[in-house]
């Protein structure tokens, strides 16, 4: 598979008609998700050419499977008619998925072409942010009144049989969720048995206002293909299925990884140079401000640096050790916050533990680095200065690593995005000031 995949991405040769045909056959045999990944990994012209090799209905599904940015590069290249054809007959969930890549005018047009039911679903999903379960509801569910019997399931399935549904949800007279019955429990039962007797224990409905990360654990433990979703009043709105949960989980983690470098999860591998440069420039700019701040603090000690140039040589060691130690604590905190494991209640205990780890590592590395510096510059005073600065900075890093993400989280700023900038600023400044300040006091 790996070789074949490489061949598919390899587009350096000229394509003859035969090669094109062969490529078309290969593409058509691949699962939609893989075609999406493949197209994302191709430079833009080739991406478009390959996309046009697909069958009409597949073309649309592949677009849905792609990230927003690479998808837009294809949409941008379509003629008005092509776009028009593509956007006929969307359902609510498809339009939701595409909405980020479409202009307001196009969304409007696609919206007006949907039937009333789909329009209603589209509008209701849009009321929820895309990190909430309500945004990602599926309405393909099997529902029956809670008074129904086994025979009603058979009847329902003769009329309607959504794939990948392994349960029927029961509702009461006012539409509130009343229980989940697994289809596998129904098959063995006789026609007159009330479904209420077959309700599965331990299936808790999801709430539309909950965050999507909470869903995946719940779906895992319920072992159902889809969990019921209710609103605050308990009304059954739809379901969240396993496939969507898997996709959302993947997006959540990818977004966290990308956020660490100040980038967007939708970023195209082959984004246009200017767009890409612009997107990254903001992050570089923010970091520049923090770097200048650190420089400004160093500037306070110009006289010292002129006297003892060894301090300038060793500065990166102090900054780097603080930054690394802090990022370890920060990463642990980011994971904990994402999993809801950090709360006001255990924060103090965590802080104590991280400060202990920091003190221990601070002392150990202070000794090591102090000795190296003493030998290197033949001065035990320089060794003592850097040892003290390292110890202080590693402890400060542990403290900041716990406190900064908690504060950011409370300010509703994603610690995965901003945590490391703020942290590095703190450890740089603490490190430089401690090191150069002590140097000024002791060495001058």
């Amino acid at each position: 598979m790996s070789q074949e995949w490489n061949d598919l991405i390899d587009t350096r040769h000229e394509d003859s008609a035969d090669q094109l045909r062969e490529r078309q056959i290969q593409l058509r045999q691949m699962p939609i998700e893989e075609v999406g990944l493949l197209l994302e990994s191709l430079p833009v012209e080739q991406r478009l050419a390959d996309w046009r090799l697909l069958d009409e209905p597949e073309r649309f599904d592949v677009l849905l499977a792609m990230r927003a940015d690479p998808r837009e590069r294809i949409l941008d290249d379509l003629s008005k008619d092509e776009l028009d054809e593509l956007l006929t007959d969307l359902d609510a969930s498809e339009l939701l998925e595409l909405a980020d890549s479409l202009s307001g005018r196009l969304i409007d047009r696609a919206f007006k072409r949907m039937d009333e039911q789909q329009q209603e679903w589209f509008l209701s999903a849009r009321q929820y942010d895309d990190d909430l379960i309500g945004h990602w509801l599926s309405h393909e569910i099997l529902t029956l009144p809670q008074t129904a019997k086994v025979r009603d399931v058979h009847r329902l399935l003769r009329r309607q049989h959504p794939e990948y549904r392994d349960a029927v949800f029961l509702t009461n007279r006012v539409g509130q969720y009343a229980g989940t019955v697994r289809l596998s429990d129904v098959w063995r039962e006789q026609d007159h048995i009330p479904l209420a007797d077959l309700i599965s224990e331990g299936v808790e409905p999801l709430v539309a206002n909950d965050r999507v990360q909470e869903a995946s654990g719940r779906i895992q433990s319920a072992r159902l293909a889809a969990l019921p979703v209710v609103d605050e009043q308990g009304k059954l709105l739809g379901c969240l299925d396993m496939t969507t949960a898997l996709e959302l989980l993947q997006e959540f983690y990818e977004a966290q990884l990308m956020a660490g470098a100040g980038m967007d999860n939708e970023e195209d591998l082959f984004a246009p140079v200017r767009k890409s440069a612009k997107g990254r420039a903001i992050w570089l700019g923010i970091n520049l401000l923090t770097a200048f701040a650190a420089s400004w603090f160093i500037g306070l000690f110009e006289a010292t640096l002129q006297e003892v140039v060894a301090l300038a040589v060793l500065m990166p060691v102090v900054a780097s050790m603080g930054g690394i130690a802090g990022s370890q604590t920060l990463t642990l905190m980011i994971r904990g916050l994402a999993l809801n494991q950090i709360t006001p209640a255990n924060r103090m205990a965590l802080l104590r533990k991280e400060l202990s780890v920091g003190s221990l590592n601070g002392v150990i590395w202070a000794v090591v680095i102090g000795l190296v510096a003493t030998v290197w510059f033949g001065s035990s005073l320089i060794g003592m200065v850097i040892a003290a600065a390292i110890a202080m900075n590693i402890v400060a890093a542990a403290f900041s690593g716990v406190v900064i993400p908690v504060i950011l989280d409370r300010l509703k700023i994603d610690p995965a995005l901003s945590g490391s900038v703020v942290l590095t600023t703190v450890t740089d400044i603490v490190g430089f000031v401690a090191f150069l300040g002590l140097g000024t006091l002791i060495l001058l």
Copy 2:
């Protein structure tokens, strides 16, 4: 829910008998996965106390749901008899999950108590590394010969009905996989219809030797609760189910996030201080070596630094801009490599694009920083020196950001783990040498 959860983690108050009883009721009502997360977020003594509040059978399931490190802290505290009781009656998959946390002797004992079938499954799973699908197989599948008819499904389901299975797998006479039939397609059919007529199109079996990340996309597109898994000869071995795929995906991404700071995914929030410090010390040590390398290069320019102390003040700016620009490219590459989107075929195109982005950002920031430095130190020469160094370092960062992960990947070293250390070393050294070297040439 959030308030309740906070209360549960809040253990600062003394527990009266009433409070304990209430806590026990709350714990017993929570899904297993959530209890696991909760116990992980508690300091050790409280963790153990809470675990003992659970019912016997739940205790075991919660241990299975926890990360290896926090789980070990509970296992370590159990008496020999308790442990013995806990490890009676394991099946192959449970023992596999626990194996990391148990001594060889305990694994042996649990192994000997399993029946032959489970022993065989355990040994065959152990032949696969834990990043391969073969390690995570479930053997709870419904299989029938490819000549079977609809009535055989009904018979099979009367005897055997694993939950959460929505398909029957067909095999030929020698046990090779021959197709998947969805149960939802069977219910409507008459008894004499051959199952071979009902095979779902587009279900490709997974191969036991494939990496687990590849599975989640495939399960998503198949929309099945479990995909069949075969060996290299096409023999049906078992299945990989959606729940396991979701869990593995989550672990994969968490491991990547933690690796970025040189930490293990199994790390306990409340690991013992010494163990935790030791685990992190290695990473700090590696980074110390690279920081000393950077310092050594700075040391080459001691004379220059003594003359022009402004260079020492501005050093962090050069290093930081290179590091940030490089980490952006690196992060994009790490995501691409994880998704199989980077191959020999598109690497050159990617490198060209990243170099273009780097050049553009390099020039822009060179101008900005050059101007600031000129004004700050009242010297256009200093401005020119830093501008040139910044431009060079950002371009070098783009180059390294593409090349380093590719080389690491080829050497079978995880770029998510080591990429940033290697990259920062390169950008630090290139930055300092360019900046101080140019400074020596121009300013002295």
